[in-house]
């Protein structure tokens, strides 16, 4: 049995230049909680070139320490280079737990590093807890197409690694001025034969990230045809939101796969979620149930979506959605003009 004296909870800080993926802060919040329960420390891992200031932000979000590797070999991000450096840090400093976001970057990196250091990895986690007596991380993830949750442990190997879905944990409120220790480390030799070079980065397409959207308008099987997606788009536009869909709408080709909400898609927690023609299979509900306010529009009064909705309209989406778009447009327009003239706050219609 290997020695299990590894300790501390690490978070890989995913960044591009100064832009840090929000999941990294969410994970530092979780790492803080887990470390406190274990009586250990929370640490951020910052790999890059000229990224030292990110360590300060990590301290404000709960890190006690930041392992900082500052080397040109780490910019731009290349999976092979980051994996070699992260694996070396892990072997040298022996953390008990290593968390990464379940993003494209986090997934490829975690898979490379876990195998390289010879440990287990739980992917796409939505809940994290510790068994204090056994000092074990309990990572829970959806399984069997999302109908079930499985709790997974890694008993005899260290570190315990997990990738965690963006948006399932709240970002911690930063404490400016909170102090921590920067631990500089060397990148060491990076074997170029294991690294795919980045020849070109094609610009992001400017769409709002579904996981960060404040308003999500989602369609399901009840859309009936591709043409009705336009109704969702108009509503989303008025609300400053983005269009998404349930799995059947994606399978039908009406909604792109990257905009799928649910257990096999993305987890969202917007302020407003409008579910149109979505019956509400469990797999979908777990992807949106943490929205602040949920509206359901469906022809079937018995659709399960109504059980998790705050407001519901039973009706034909082809009539209800355009009417709602129009009514919201009127109200938001008058709101904007009153705001411009410094009028009193608007309160309408709640009687």
């Amino acid at each position: 049995m290997p020695e299990l004296d590894h300790r501390d909870v690490w978070v890989y800080v995913e960044h591009r230049g100064d832009e840090v993926h929000p999941v990294s802060w969410e994970l530092l919040g979780v790492a803080r909680r887990l470390a406190d329960e274990l009586g250990e420390e929370a640490a951020a891992v910052v790999l890059g070139h000229g990224a030292r200031h990110l360590a300060e932000r990590a301290f404000a979000c709960g890190a006690d320490r930041a392992y900082l590797v500052d080397d040109p070999v780490l910019e731009p991000y290349r999976a092979g280079a980051h994996a070699q450096v992260l694996a070396r840090l892990v072997e040298r400093h022996r953390p008990g737990i290593v968390l990464l976001g379940a993003t494209g970057v986090g997934r490829e990196l975690a898979g490379l590093v876990a195998t390289a250091v010879g440990t287990g990895l739980t992917a796409d986690v939505t809940e994290l807890a510790v068994d204090r007596g056994r000092r074990l991380l309990e990572a829970t993830r959806p399984t069997f197409g999302g109908k079930q949750l499985a709790t997974i442990v890694c008993e005899r190997h260290r570190p315990q690694m997990a990738t965690v879905r963006p948006g399932v944990f709240p970002a911690p409120e930063p404490e400016p001025g909170r102090q921590g220790t920067v631990i500089p480390a060397e990148a060491g030799v990076v074997d170029p034969d294991l690294v795919a070079e980045v020849l070109e980065v094609l610009p992001a397409d400017g769409r709002v990230d579904l996981e960060r959207a404040r308003v999500v308008v989602a369609g399901g099987r009840g859309l009936g045809e591709a043409g009705n997606v336009a109704l969702l788009r108009e509503l989303a536009e008025v609300l400053g939101g983005v269009v998404a869909g349930s799995r059947p709408a994606v399978e039908a080709g009406w909604i792109p796969r990257e905009a799928q909400v649910g257990q096999t898609g993305k987890v969202v927690r917007p302020r407003l979620y409008v579910a149109v023609g979505i019956s509400g299979a469990v797999q979908h509900l777990v992807g949106m149930q943490d929205a602040e306010v949920v509206v359901a529009i469906n022809r079937d009064p018995d659709a399960p979506i109504f059980q998790v909705a705050d407001y519901g309209i039973v009706g034909d989406l082809r009539q209800v959605v355009p009417a709602l778009t129009e009514e919201l447009r009127l109200r938001l327009r008058s709101l904007a003009s009153r705001g411009a003239t410094g009028g009193e706050p608007v309160r309408t219609g709640s009687r």
């Binding site: 993926h21 092979g80 494209g104 997934r107 990196l109 975690a110 898979g111 490379l112 876990a114 195998t115 010879g118 440990t119 990895l121 992917a123 796409d124 399984t143 197409g145 109908k147 949750l149 709790t151 997974i152 442990v153 890694c154 008993e155 190997h157 034969d193 294991l194 690294v195 795919a196 020849l199 980065v201 094609l202 992001a204 308003v215 609300l239 302020r271 407003l272 469990v282 777990v286 149930q289 306010v293 949920v294 059980q307 909705a309 705050d310 407001y311 519901g312 309209i313 009706g315 034909d316 009539q319 209800v320 009417a323 009514e327 109200r331 709101l335 608007v346 309160r347 219609g349 709640s350």
Partner: protein, 251 residues
């Protein structure tokens, strides 16, 4: 050019077949699973794969990514020895056969000691003579052009290509083709290195996903007057303060 095929995602195989048609070479498909997984291999043969290897053994059951990639890596090494030549590329679907963790590709690349090209949406160039591959991949919201040395491991996106269909004669011919089956012993692996026993991770609990129910306010009358119902809902949303520009901080 071996390919690891999984039944619901044949795009990796399709891409391997297309490049074989242009450049020559050989496509071998591998899968780890119960004896029934042979069906997936037959389908791959009917589509044009040259050779199929089924990695099956009771001891393989319950394998996590770590134990799965060990078996796959050993099988690839054995194939290389038998063929007397190393592979150029390993093509993987993004998601694994026996789960949906999407971690088999990266784990296998680490075991094989080859560069990983993940989430590939287009293969721009493949040059076996110059030992080079150039691809476009989707990384979160951006696209990157990557270049790596061969051998390399590629995981593909479904948008990469459209999968071909097999003609009936090919389907029938595939039923006659031999499929090699290897277990732990053929790969020189001990029973405690594979399957559940060789897996660092273990499921300790599972259960139905919990749901958060809400008090629903149903707005009636949409069938008769959708406009009126929509107006009422718009008022409620405005009052709830969830609309941008409206009532942030409880207005």
């Amino acid at each position: 050019m071996p390919a690891i095929v999984n039944p619901d995602d044949l795009h990796a195989l399709e891409e391997a077949l297309r490049w074989r048609e242009r450049l020559g070479g050989r496509v071998t498909v591998l899968t780890m699973g119960p004896p029934q997984a042979e069906a997936a291999l037959r389908r791959a043969l009917s589509l044009g794969a040259d050779r199929a290897v089924l990695l099956t053994d009771r001891a393989f059951a319950g394998a996590d990514t770590y134990a799965t990639t060990l078996v796959l890596a050993r099988a690839l090494r054995r194939l290389e020895r038998e063929q007397g030549a190393p592979f150029d590329l390993v093509w993987c679907g993004r998601q694994a056969l026996d789960g949906d963790t999407g971690q088999v590709g990266p784990g296998l690349a680490a075991r094989l000691g080859v560069p990983l090209l993940a989430y590939v949406a287009r293969v721009r160039r493949l040059d076996p003579a110059a030992r080079r591959i150039e691809v476009e991949r989707v990384l979160d919201r951006r696209r990157e052009v990557l270049r790596a040395r061969l051998p390399a491991l590629v995981t593909v996106e479904r948008t990469l290509n459209a999968v071909r269909y097999a003609a009936l004669p090919d389907l029938l011919a595939a039923l006659e083709q031999p499929i090699v089956a290897w277990g732990a012993a053929e790969l020189g692996l001990a029973p405690d290195e594979v399957g559940l026993r060789g897996s660092p991770t273990r499921v300790v609990r599972s259960g139905a996903a919990p749901l958060r129910r809400r008090q629903t306010r149903l707005i009636p009358g949409a069938a008769a007057d959708p406009r009126q119902a929509a107006a009422q809902l718009a008022d409620l949303l405005l009052a709830a303060g969830v609309l941008d520009g409206g009532g942030e901080g409880g207005g």
